[in-house]
């Protein structure tokens, strides 16, 4: 079935929708399910950079935070803006990504990683330094949720979740479109061998920058949804830990697997949720899980699943 999903976008969207519908049941509440979807979007946007453009970015938290602050600022000023505020956030994310990208793209390898880390810290301190816009260490509070018209039928929590779910399906379907487009294939070429891609005539810098902007915009969208869920935009959305978490989820899911990103987000959130109730030192268990994944499923959850499926079909073929 996974093969079918890979080859048919209709089935892919269906899988996304099924995931979104299942989440509240799996996680027990729409609030936590919403968080899984939000981070799934962010992780998938990170996959675009990591698995396709070959860029390991520590700045994802900056875009996430920018999106949160943007939606907060817009909706507090103009509560009637509603869902249109999300467009502003995407734009804000793309602009910030453009700025960070222009400074970072020329670097390669670990130097690129470090520049993005520096940019992330810059964003964090900028947020702290302008409390009149960001609320400083207290964050932006009292962010009004936009009316989606579904609250009457489903109730406020579920209505909010419906919004997140729809955006989730759209965003990841969009990303899938991107990675399967000629642009996506160009990114693959750049990732595999930058020099060869350059000589083949690709404008490597522009390609990377565009990927960066797309990723930034979608990550900002995720951040905006998170702020709507929380009705606040805390400083923690723009800190290094957020960048790290998004990256971990993306790697865990398999760096090229968009659906895997959703499962990476699910796995990390589920672990945190369940384990933190049992043992204050639960992060140690997460550490062991991460190590186990690297050693036994080096291509992440998505890769392991594909690998297992491939082996099964081989064996099935043997018995045919």
């Amino acid at each position: 079935m996974l093969e079918k999903i890979k080859h048919s976008s209709g089935l892919f969207c269906l899988a996304l929708a099924a995931f979104a519908l299942a989440m509240p049941l799996v996680m027990g509440s729409t609030a936590t399910a919403g968080v899984v979807l939000v981070f799934a979007i962010a992780a998938a946007a990170c996959n675009l950079l990591l698995g396709y453009a070959g860029l390991l970015s520590f700045a994802q938290g900056s875009f996430f935070g920018v999106g949160s602050y943007a939606v907060g600022m817009v909706l507090k000023a103009e509560p009637g803006a509603g869902v249109a505020a999300l467009h502003v956030c995407i734009a804000a994310g793309m602009v910030v990504a453009l700025a960070i990208g222009m400074l970072s793209i020329r670097q390669r390898g670990i130097y690129f990683v470090m520049i993005t880390l520096a940019m992330a810290q810059l964003a964090y301190f900028a947020a702290l330094s302008f409390p009149q816009f960001t609320g400083g260490e207290n964050g932006l509070l009292d962010i009004p949720r936009p009316a989606t018209g579904l609250e009457g039928i489903l109730g406020e929590g579920a209505g909010q979740y419906a919004l997140i779910a729809v955006v989730f399906v759209l965003a990841i379907a969009f990303l899938r479109l991107v990675v399967r487009s000629p642009f996506g294939r160009a990114l693959d070429a750049v990732r595999e061998n930058e020099v060869r891609a350059q000589t083949a005539g690709y404008d490597v810098q522009k390609l990377k920058l565009l990927a960066f902007c797309l990723s930034g915009g979608i990550t900002a969208l995720a951040g905006a949804l998170y702020a709507l869920q929380l009705r606040s935009a805390p400083l923690s959305n723009i800190d290094l830990m957020t960048s790290e978490t998004i990256l971990i989820m993306a790697i865990l899911g398999g760096r090229r697997s968009l659906l895997g990103a959703a499962f990476g987000a699910l796995a990390m959130t589920l672990m945190a949720e369940q384990l933190s109730q049992l043992w204050p030192r639960w992060q140690m268990i997460v550490g062991f899980v991460l190590i186990a994944v690297v050693l036994f499923a080096p291509r992440g959850l998505g890769g392991a699943w594909a690998h297992w499926r491939a082996r099964r079909s081989v064996h099935a073929g043997d018995h045919a």
Binding site: G28, A31, G139, L230, S232, P234, L235, S236, Q277
Partner: protein, 399 residues
């Protein structure tokens, strides 16, 4: 089995199962209390001691509510976003209504909004002015004096006792809380005619304070006033001690946690410095004596601020539920407003118009290591007093 016996058995089973839910309802529904704190992550110290405080409160309150108390922990992991989401989940899934605690101001500020929206009741003890100021709401109460009280009850008695002090240098955390401390400090300095010779801001993530200390020492001030919190304060004071700053000027710390931070620094550092505390375990009040006895009996050590604060707020919640005769948050809120009681710091009242508890704040001086009577005897209480923003000047108008 023949048909008759079968019907008899089936009949009794059916009737029995109809009766079962009635039987369950007849039993008492537990009082669910949710304590929000950081039990893991960077601020896990807060959660560790908070837990002990709540447990002491549950033990001390015993059966006075007439039913079991269901104490649940919500681990914010030191992250306000996670705190908000878990509170949402608890209110949504478990119909949680009664909350207490928070590791940091940003957590409290974020969750108090959610709790208010869903008509719960929440008692916290964090420092941000806004909790009972511009962000106040009907569901939230705060035990613990905010910056106005901290600065005034620390500075004014000291200035009176030390007429030779003329010049003050401040080192301030450049964040909302630090700015609030500085604002209040400046007012006090103006009113007491002290010269504010300089201020150094530092950022939240700062670790290297040598520069700011150098500025302070070069300013010719008599007093260094420290206006920050948490790790910033610890790093600053440790480095101040290595620079021998104490020998050249008095050091006054407006906001300090207490036993855990004294232990983190050691008596050699804190000796001779002045500190403002919300709570100290040697407080000589009937309520504190009871609390320390219970706490020491259960945990064999002196209570830290978080334990005391959580003990106090948890007890206030249970007590209000008992007096109101109801779990309904609206009733508990009513029972809390205007309530006067014997608190850990003495006579305490909950002001109805901003839900701020009027309590005492302590000014203490660090003792020499040689003068310590036991391992926790870090400080002598110099004064215990209170100062709160009057109703006319408050940003909060709940009544």
């Amino acid at each position: 089995m023949d048909r008759r016996s079968f019907l008899t058995v089936a009949g009794s089973a059916a009737t029995g199962s109809l009766l079962l839910p009635h039987f369950a309802i007849a039993q008492a529904k537990p009082f669910s209390y949710y304590s929000v704190n950081a039990f893991s992550g960077n601020f896990a110290t807060s959660g560790k001691y908070s837990d002990l405080g709540v447990r002491a409160a549950v033990t001390a309150f015993g059966n006075r509510l007439g039913r079991p108390i269901d104490y649940r922990k919500i681990d914010s992991e030191g992250n306000p976003a996670i705190a908000v989401r878990k509170v949402q989940q608890a209110m949504d899934q478990d119909k949680a209504l009664h909350f207490g605690g928070a590791a940091l101001s940003n957590e409290a500020l974020a969750i108090m909004k959610e709790i208010n929206k869903n008509k719960g009741v929440y008692i916290t003890y964090v420092g941000a002015d806004e909790v009972t100021g511009k962000d106040c709401n009907r569901s939230t109460f705060r035990w613990g004096l905010p910056t106005y009280g901290a600065v005034n009850t620390v500075m004014r008695p000291l200035i009176q006792q030390n007429p030779k002090w003329k010049k003050v240098y401040t080192i301030t955390g450049q964040y909302v809380f630090g700015e609030a401390l500085l604002r209040n400090a400046k007012t006090v300095m103006q009113e007491t005619k002290l010269e504010h010779v300089g201020n150094s801001y530092h950022s939240l993530a700062e670790k290297e304070f040598s520069g700011y200390l150098g500025n302070a020492m070069g300013s010719g001030a008599d007093v260094l006033l420290v206006l920050n919190f948490g790790a910033n304060t610890l790093d600053l004071l440790r480095q101040a001690a290595t620079f021998g700053l104490k020998q050249r000027m008095a050091v006054v710390v407006a906001w300090f946690s207490g036993l855990d931070t004294f232990q983190a620094l050691g008596a050699d550092v804190t000796d001779g410095m002045y500190f403002g505390l919300q709570y100290w375990h040697t407080l000589d009040t009937p309520a504190n004596k009871d609390f320390v006895r219970i706490y020491k009996g259960e945990f064999k050590e002196n209570p830290r601020f978080y334990s005391a604060a959580d003990y106090q707020v948890t007890t206030l919640m249970f007590d209000a539920a008992k007096r109101a005769g109801s779990d309904e948050p609206a009733a508990i809120v009513k029972a809390l407003e205007g309530h006067s009681y014997q608190g850990l710091t003495g006579d305490e009242q909950i002001r109805p118009f901003d839900h701020q508890v009027s309590k005492n704040y302590l000014l203490v001086r660090g003792k020499k290591k040689a003068a310590m009577k036991d391992a926790d005897d870090y400080a002598d209480i110099l004064s215990s007093s209170r100062a709160l923003v009057p109703q006319a000047e408050s940003d909060c108008k709940l009544v």
